[in-house]
C-alpha cells in the first residue's frame, strides 16, 4: 500500500514538472543581464554585451573572438561575451531566450528566413533608421534581403554566403576529365565515369540530414531548375516543375550510387569531413569549406580542392542559394546603442575584408581589394558570378514551420518511403494550410 501511494506521488510530481515546464518552458541557460545597467552609471562601470552566434560554417570561433577583441579595444569599459551554438540550435535558442521575456543576449545572429518570424514576434529591433548611407549603397542588395521584412531592416548582414561546387582536382584528372562540370548533367556524367573507373565509391556528398541543410541543397537544385518555394501569393510552388525535378534528381543519384548514401545523415560539416578525407569527388557546400579543405592540418586533400559556381541544369541560368546571415539587436537588450556599435564594427568593410578567408564580405567594393582576392582567387572569382544571381528562401513568418515539414517529407522520398510526388504533395498541403492560417 505504501509503495502504491509513493508511486502515485512520484507520477504526479513528474506530471506536474512536465506541465510546468511547458508553461514556463522558455527559461534559458542564464538569467543575468537584462536589468543590468538601467540608467546612467559612473563611467568606470563595465558593460557586458552578450553575443549569440554559431559554431560552424562562416567565421571561425577565433575570428569572431578576434573581432570582439578589436571592438573592446576601441570601446573601453565594454566587454563582449560570446556564446557559440551549432547552427541547428540557433533558431530555438533565440526563441527560448526572447520568449522568456527576460532575454540574456543583446546581439543575435539570424538567418535570412527567420527575419520575418522574429520581427513579427517582436524579438528583434527595427534598425532601418540606424543604417548609414554608406551601408545603404555599399552592401549587396541580396545581402540586405536577408534582414529585410515588410520594407524595414531588422539587422545588418554579416555573413555573405552561397553554396559552391567543390571538386577534387586530382580525382578529376585521374579520370581524364578536363574541366569541372558547368551543368548538373555534366556533373552526373563525370560522377558516373569516376565511379566506373573505381576512383571513388560515391562521387558526390550532400548535406541531406533532417535539418535546414537538406532544404539548402534541395533549394539550390530547385532554383537551378527555375523553381521556387512559394509563388507570388505565398502559396506552395515547390511541389511542381523545378521542385519536383530537384527531388527526383536527388533520389535518382542515390539509386544510381552516385551520391553517398550516408548523405541522409550529413550536415554541412560532415560533408566537409568526407570531402577532406578524400571520399568524395564533388561536394556542395558553403564558402568556409574552401579554406578548411585546403588546410593540410585538417584535410588529406589540401591543395587539390577546386571551386566553381554551382552548376545549372542545361539551358537554364545558374542561380545560387542565398545563405547570408545577419546580426540583429534583441528587444530585451538594455544597451541597444552599444549593441548597434558592435554590429557596425563587426560588419564594417575593413573587418569583413580582414576575415574574408572563411566568409566573404557583404561589401561590393571588397571584391576589388587585392587582400580579399588573395585569400582565394578561385573562390573570389566563383563568388563574383554566383553573388550576382542569388535567390533566397522565402522570408515569411511561418518559414520555419514549412521547412520543418518539408525536411521530413523530402527525407521520406530519399528513404524511398514515398515517391517524390507524394512527398512534396504532403508538404504542399501542409504549407497551404499554414499560409491560410496567417
Amino acid at each position: 500500500m505504501l509503495t502504491r501511494r509513493r508511486t502515485a506521488v512520484v507520477a504526479l510530481l513528474a506530471a506536474l514538472a512536465i506541465g510546468l515546464g511547458a508553461c514556463g518552458g522558455s527559461t534559458s541557460g542564464g538569467s543575468t543581464a537584462g536589468g543590468q545597467g538601467s540608467g546612467m552609471q559612473p563611467a568606470q562601470q563595465t558593460v557586458t554585451l552578450r553575443l549569440l552566434t554559431m559554431k560552424q560554417a562562416a567565421y571561425s570561433d577565433q575570428d569572431v573572438q578576434a573581432m570582439a577583441k578589436g571592438f573592446e579595444e576601441t570601446h573601453p569599459g565594454v566587454q563582449v561575451d560570446i556564446t557559440f551554438v551549432p547552427y541547428e540550435s540557433l533558431h530555438d535558442k533565440i526563441t527560448a531566450d526572447q520568449a522568456s521575456g527576460s532575454g540574456v543576449y543583446d546581439v543575435v545572429l539570424i538567418d535570412g528566413m527567420w527575419t520575418g518570424e522574429f520581427a513579427r514576434a517582436g524579438f528583434i529591433r527595427d534598425v532601418t533608421d540606424r543604417w548609414t548611407p554608406a551601408m545603404q549603397s555599399g552592401i549587396f542588395e541580396s545581402s540586405k534581403d536577408i534582414v529585410r521584412f515588410n520594407g524595414r531592416l531588422y539587422g545588418v548582414p554579416w555573413i555573405n554566403d552561397t553554396k559552391f561546387l567543390f571538386y577534387n582536382k586530382q580525382m578529376l584528372a585521374q579520370a581524364g576529365i578536363q574541366q569541372p562540370p558547368k551543368t548538373w548533367e555534366e556533373l552526373l556524367a563525370d560522377a558516373r565515369l569516376l565511379k566506373q573507373k573505381g576512383i571513388v565509391q560515391y562521387p558526390i556528398a550532400w548535406s541531406w540530414a533532417q535539418a535546414e541543410a537538406v532544404i539548402c541543397d534541395f533549394g539550390q537544385l530547385m532554383f537551378s531548375e527555375g523553381g521556387h518555394f512559394l509563388d507570388e501569393k505565398n502559396q506552395p510552388a515547390f511541389q511542381t516543375d523545378g521542385g519536383l525535378q530537384a527531388l527526383q534528381f536527388m533520389v535518382q543519384t542515390l539509386k544510381d550510387g552516385l551520391s553517398n548514401p550516408h548523405s541522409i545523415s550529413y550536415l554541412e560539416d560532415d560533408v566537409r569531413q568526407v570531402f577532406s578525407q578524400g571520399q568524395a569527388a564533388f561536394a556542395l557546400n558553403w564558402t568556409y569549406m574552401y579554406a578548411l579543405a585546403n588546410d593540410p592540418k585538417q584535410s588529406k586533400v589540401a591543395g587539390q580542392v577546386g571551386v566553381v559556381p554551382t552548376p545549372a541544369f542545361s539551358g537554364k541560368p545558374a542561380v545560387g542559394i542565398n545563405g547570408g546571415m545577419g546580426l540583429a539587436i534583441t528587444k530585451s537588450s538594455a544597451h541597444p546603442d552599444l549593441a548597434w556599435q558592435l554590429i557596425e564594427t563587426m560588419s564594417s568593410e575593413p573587418v569583413e575584408n580582414k576575415y574574408a578567408a572563411l566568409s566573404l564580405p557583404i561589401w561590393k567594393d571588397s571584391y576589388q581589394q587585392q587582400s580579399v582576392i588573395a585569400t582565394g582567387p578561385e573562390l573570389v572569382q566563383a563568388a563574383e558570378s554566383q553573388f550576382a544571381r542569388m535567390e533566397s528562401r522565402p522570408n515569411v513568418p511561418w518559414y520555419n514551420q514549412m521547412s520543418t515539414e518539408l525536411q521530413k517529407d523530402i527525407q521520406s522520398a530519399l528513404l524511398m518511403q514515398a515517391t517524390p510526388q507524394q512527398a512534396l504533395q504532403r508538404a504542399a498541403d501542409f504549407t497551404r494550410q499554414l499560409a491560410q492560417q496567417q
Binding site: 509503495t3 508511486t7 502515485a8 512520484v10 513528474a14 548514401p261 550516408h262 513568418p397 521530413k408 528513404l415
Partner: protein, 256 residues
Amino acid sequence: MSLHEWNLTMPRHPFVGLANYAQILATPSFWQAIGRTLYFTLVSTGLELLLGLAIALLLNRPFRGRGLLRALVLLPWALPTVVNGIMWRWIDNPDYGALNALLTQAGLLHAYRNWLGSPWSALNMVILADVWKMTPLAALLLLAGLQTIPRELYESAAIDGAGGWRQFLGITLPLLRTSILIVLVARTIEAFKVFDIIYIMTRGGPGDGTMTIAYYAYTQAFSSLLFGKGAAISYLIALFILLLSVGYVRLLRPAQ
C-alpha cells in the same frame, strides 16, 4: 496556455478552448510519435531492467575486486546525457565510427552501415545509447534491493534442497518486487519523456524516425513557435505517463 492559440509571432493569443487538443489528437504524426515513444519506452525499460538485474545479481556475489567493479559499472550513468549522445553519434558514424570498424574487423559486417541513416535503425541506436547509460542505475537500485534480502532465507532454502533457479523464483524475485517497481516506474517515466539524447543524436530524423513525443512537443513550441500546441502536447504526455504508472502499480501490487 494550452487552451489558447498561442502563436508567438502573432500579437493576440485568443482563447480556443480544447481546439489545440482536438487538433493534436487528429494529427497522424502525433500518434506516430506516441507509437515510437511507446516502443522506445518498452524496449529501453525492458532491456535496462533485465541487464540491470543480471548485473546486480553478479555484483551481489562476493568476489575479489567487487568494490572496484561496482564503482566502474556506474561510470556510464555518471556521464552527462549530452556527452553520452555525442559519444554514441561518433560510435555510429557511417564513415569512421567505432561500431562499423569493430563489426567489420570481426567479420560480422562487410560494408560500413549508416546506423543513424534509416528511421528504424536510428531509433534502435538511440535506444542502445539510452540503455548503455541507464542500465547502471537499474543495477544500482536492484543491488540495493538484493542486499536487504536476509541470507538466512537462501540458507534454509538450500537445506530444503532448492536449487539456484528455484531460489531465484521463490525468494529473490518476490522480495525484489518493490525495487523492480521503482526501476520500472522511474525508467518508464524517464523514457517516455526522452528528449536530450534525441536532440543530440538525431534531432528527430531521419524521416521523423526518432521523433518521440517530447521532441515533437519541443519542435511545435520552439521551432514553430506554437506554444499553445506545445503546452497541450505536454499535458497529454503527462496524462499518458500517469496512466502508465497507474497500470504498473496495479500490476505489481503485492497480493493481499
